[in-house]
Amino acid sequence: MALLECRGLTKVFGGLLALDALDLAVEAGEIVGLIGPNGSGKSTCFNLVSGILRPSRGQVLVDGRDVGRLAPWAIARLGVARTFQLLRVFPRLSVLDNVLLGHHLNLDAGLLASAAGTRRARDEEAEARAESRRLLELVGLQAVADRPAEHLSIGQRRLLELARGLAARPRLFLLDEPAAGLSPVNVERIVALIRRMRDERGIAIVLIEHVMKVVMGISDRIAVLDYGVKIAEGPPAAVRADPRVIEAYLGRRGLRAGR
C-alpha cells in the first residue's frame, strides 16, 4: 500500500479547475518531484494533502485511509509535515521555540501535568529541547537559536522550516520550493539535507521545485502538471525528453532561464 495516494483528486475554485483528477502515489522512502508552470496546481495539491483545502472530488489516502475530511492537525499527526512556498514561521517566537513547536504532536504532557510541572513533563520538555538543538545544528542554525525568527534571512527561514518539519518525525515531508530565493551555497546545502532526510531517516519526500538542477538531480520520479492536469510522470530522464513536457514547461522556461 502506498504511503500517500491521490485518486482523481480535483479542486475547483469558483469556475477555475485548479487541479483536475490527479492520480499520484508516493511510496515510503521515495523522492517525488512535482513540477509545472506557475498556477499549474502544485501548491493546491499540497494544500489538499495537508488538509488546508477540502477536495472538490476525489480522495487523498494516507496508508490507504481517506483523510479528505480530517483537520490539518489530524493529518499532521499521521506523519505528514510540510513547508510553505511563501515561508511561514512564528515571527516573534525564538528560532528554538519554532522547532520545539514541531515536536509538540509527539509530546504527552496534558493540562494538569503542565500546570503542576511534573517530573515527566519536565523530562519530556528537556528532551524535546535537546533534540531541537540537534536539529538546528543539522541545518546550521545553532548560532541563531535564541533569536526571534523574524530576524532570520529568507535562506535561514527555509532552513528553519526544514528543522521544524523534521522535529515532527514525519514519514512524508511535502517541500514547497525549498530552494527558491537561495544562494548557490544554500541550494547545495538544502539538496544535501533532503538526501540525508531520505537516506538516514527514510522519509518520503514530495518536492515542488522550479530550480531544475535540484529537482532533476534528486528525484526518483517526477510528475508534471499543466493547468491542473498531470501531463507526464516518470524518471527524470524520461520526463526531460517528453515532448509534451518540453512544450508545456521545460521548453519555454528552460531556454529562457538557461538551465
Binding site: A76, V89, D97, A109, A115, G117
Partner: protein
C-alpha cells in the same frame, strides 16, 4: 535568575505581606483587595488575549457569573465559601468553554463582537431575571467565609486585613499556575495560535482544543475573582459586571503589556489605585482609559512591561 531579581521579589513579597499593618485606616486595604481581585481578572484575560491572541470583551460577564454562582450557592443552598468558591470557579470555567466554541469559527472583529454580545446578554439576565438574580437590587446578605481551623490555629476572615491575605493567597496561587502554564508546552501552543494559526494547525497542534482551553482557564480565573468579590462585599449588583468593567480589564491588560502576566497585574493595580486617589481621574475615568489606550497602543504596544524590558535591555547594552 540574578541575585538582584531574587532580592526584588523578596522585597515585593514582604511589602505585600506587611501592607495591612503599614497603612493607616482600612480604606487602603479595601482598595488593595479590589486591586488583587482585578489582578486575577486581568491575568485570566491575558491568557486569552495576550497569549492565545483571541480578543474578548466578556471578562466582566464571567466575573459576574462567578460572583452570582458563589452567592447563590451560599444563599440558596447554604454552602460555605470554601465549597462555593471552587464550585463557582468550575461553573464559570464551563461558561468559558461555551464561549470558546464560537471562537473556533470566528476570528478578529467577529469574535470580539460575539464576546460583546455575550457580555450584554449576561448583564441583561442578571438585571432582568428577578426571581433568580434579584434583578437590579442584586443579592444581599452573602456570608463571609467562615473561620478556617488548621491544626490549633483558627483563621478568621471577617476583617478587611484578613480578607486581604485571602485575596493575596488566591492571586499568588492563580498567578503561579498561570506562569507555569505559559512557560509549558501549552503556553507555547497559545503563542503559536496567536502568531499564525494556520501554521500551528499544519504542525499537528489541535488549535480548537487549545483555544477553548484558554477561554476556559481565563473564565475560571474570573470566576475565582467573582466569588472573592461576592463574599467580601456581601452584596452584589449587576452594575459591577457591565461592558465598562470588561473594557477596564482590557485596558489593564493592554496598559500593563499583553502576554506578560506581570504586566496585566501591574495594570490592574495602577488602574484600581490611581482613580481612588485622583478625584479628577475618577470622574473622567473612562475618557482617561480611552486616551491611555490610544497612547499605549501607538507608542508602547507592549505596555508598561514591554517598556520596562526595552529600558532594561538598553541600560544593559550601554
Amino acid at each position: 535568575m540574578g541575585r538582584g531579581r531574587t532580592l526584588g521579589w523578596l522585597a515585593l513579597a514582604a511589602a505585600l505581606l506587611a501592607l495591612p499593618h503599614l497603612a493607616p485606616g482600612s480604606y487602603f486595604v479595601h482598595v488593595m483587595i479590589v486591586a488583587l481581585i482585578f489582578a486575577i481578572l486581568a491575568s485570566g484575560l491575558d491568557l486569552v488575549m495576550g497569549y492565545c491572541g483571541q480578543f474578548s470583551f466578556g471578562q466582566a460577564a464571567f466575573y459576574g457569573i462567578g460572583a452570582y454562582a458563589s452567592a447563590l450557592l451560599a444563599l440558596r443552598l447554604g454552602w460555605s465559601f470554601w465549597a462555593a468558591f471552587p464550585a463557582a470557579v468550575l461553573i464559570t470555567a464551563a461558561f468559558g468553554a461555551l464561549l470558546g466554541v464560537p471562537s473556533l469559527r470566528l476570528a478578529g472583529h467577529f469574535l470580539a463582537i460575539t464576546t460583546i454580545a455575550f457580555q450584554v446578554i449576561v448583564h441583561q439576565i442578571l438585571t432582568q431575571w428577578h426571581g433568580f438574580t434579584g434583578g437590579t437590587a442584586g443579592l444581599t446578605g452573602i456570608p463571609a467565609p467562615p473561620p478556617l481551623r488548621l491544626g490549633g490555629v483558627t483563621l478568621a476572615f471577617e476583617s478587611p486585613a484578613a480578607y486581604y491575605y485571602l485575596c493575596l493567597g488566591v492571586s499568588a496561587l492563580a498567578l503561579a499556575v498561570a506562569v507555569r502554564l505559559v512557560r509549558s508546552r501549552i503556553g507555547r501552543e497559545w503563542l503559536a495560535v496567536r502568531e499564525d494559526e494556520l501554521l500551528a494547525k499544519t504542525m499537528g497542534i489541535d488549535t480548537t482544543r487549545i483555544k477553548v482551553l484558554a477561554f476556559t482557564l481565563g473564565a475560571g480565573l474570573a470566576g475565582a475573582a467573582g466569588s472573592l468579590l461576592a463574599h467580601y462585599l456581601r452584596n452584589i449588583h449587576p452594575s459591577e459586571f457591565t461592558i465598562w468593567t470588561s473594557a477596564e480589564i482590557v485596558a489593564m491588560v493592554i496598559l500593563g503589556g499583553r502576554g506578560t502576566l506581570a504586566g496585566p497585574v501591574l495594570g490592574a493595580v495602577v488602574l484600581t489605585v490611581l482613580p481612588e486617589y485622583l478625584r479628577a481621574a475618577q470622574d473622567y475615568k473612562l475618557i482617561l482609559y480611552g486616551l491611555a489606550l490610544i497612547v499605549m497602543i501607538t507608542f508602547l504596544p507592549d505596555g508598561l512591561m514591554g517598556g520596562l524590558r526595552a529600558l532594561r535591555a538598553r541600560t544593559a547594552a550601554a
